[in-house]
Amino acid sequence: MRKLVEKREFELMISRMFHELVERLGDTTPVLVGIRTRGVYLAQRFSNLFKQEKIEHDFGTIDITFHRDDANLSLKIPNVKGTQLNVDLNDRTVVLFDDVIHTGRTVRAALDEIMDFGRPSKVILVTLIDRDRRELPIQPDILGKFIPTRKDERIFVKFSEYDGEDGVFIGGNEE
């Protein structure tokens, strides 16, 4: 595994994304929603920054397992950890977080899941890394870094709270 983003750059990236998001949101009170698992870690970082700046917000997590369109294709089903959204999403601004955007299929499933809970007035997509190779017309609104990859490569985002360090890594599929 090779390191692509160091701790310092990682922090600056999140800080810049946070300010971009605050500017976009204006005076609305957003619902921050992380996609299991690493999108939740990213959403928590943002939630902490919102708290520091005393900006009001709600928080939730979603598990997209049951909305995946590949369960039928006999791909591996990840362990389901559950959706927790105890907020009425009708007419709210939802900020959706994921660590890496790739094919766009995860985000599509997440959007479907969100729509099951209500009709948000707006959904903003925030991702830390865009590794390209999209299969659906879905793009992040706020992006940390664009890192084009080959099909056999994988991006790993680490968060110090869970992995002991901040950073973005690239490795093969097997790692």
Binding site: T65, F66, H67, R68, I77, P78, T83, F117
Partner: protein
Amino acid sequence: MSIAGKDVFDVDVLSKEDVLQIFQTAKEFKEVLQRPIKKVPALRGKTVCTLFFEPSTRTRMSFEIAAKRLNADVVNFSSSTSSLKKGESFKDTVKTLDAMGIDLYVIRHREPGSPMMLKKYTNAIVINAGDGIRAHPTQAILDGYTMWEKFGELKDLKVVIVGDILHSRVARSNAKLLKKMGADVTFCGPKSMIPMKAEEYGVRISHSVKEAIKGADVVMGLRMHLERQTGGFFSSLDEYNEFYGLTPEVMKETSKSSIFMHPGPMNRGVEVVTELADSENSKVEEQVTNGVATRMALLYLTLGGDNGANS
């Protein structure tokens, strides 16, 4: 280990890990059932056929709702309005249905072993929804789930099953599943209603409700199967109620946090009195909700993909 593609003839086919995975998945589906939109597209494009040769409200509806909540298509086969009436054989009927592209059958039939017979004629997955007095695995799973949800685990849980054990597929499947998960199970009923060789299930046998339910965590009443009886098992329903009827008074002997369960439909005034059936300890309605969630989990896991930890 994986549940994908398994035929669920009885709980024997499931390992302890499989059962826990079903419980975990059911917990997530229970959350889905509380949403404004109670559907997820996990089984889009799959077709489930329910084959019921015996009357049923909750099991059939429960399977149908479970399949629909997962976006599968459901077709119901009813023997009384089918070509079986014209003399078409069971085999030809199944072959015909198969040709229409069924992915999973849910079967209930009064003959023990009928799900295995169905499997001879199809490549689709078969789930047993009750075959005579032999087995009713999905009822055992939903009962086990109800206990797991309340107590956190089934190990060392004291469960007493009271009533007509002899004619009860629910008791048989429950005993197997609960013993597998490490619970302490007692069959309690009149001598005439305890099956021969009941000890082989690894359960305790008791003929006194009072003794059996001392310190019990779960008391499960069984329906008196009047339709499966040929008579002579007890002198009268009143007398049965006198000795084996479950009441709030009897429940006083159980542990503090104990619950009352019943697979339904209840014969109020026979095996249980209304005061207990509708009491706070009663999980009867919760069992019905859990039936949908656990059947969703079972359909999802049998029809879904491989169950690896990674995507």
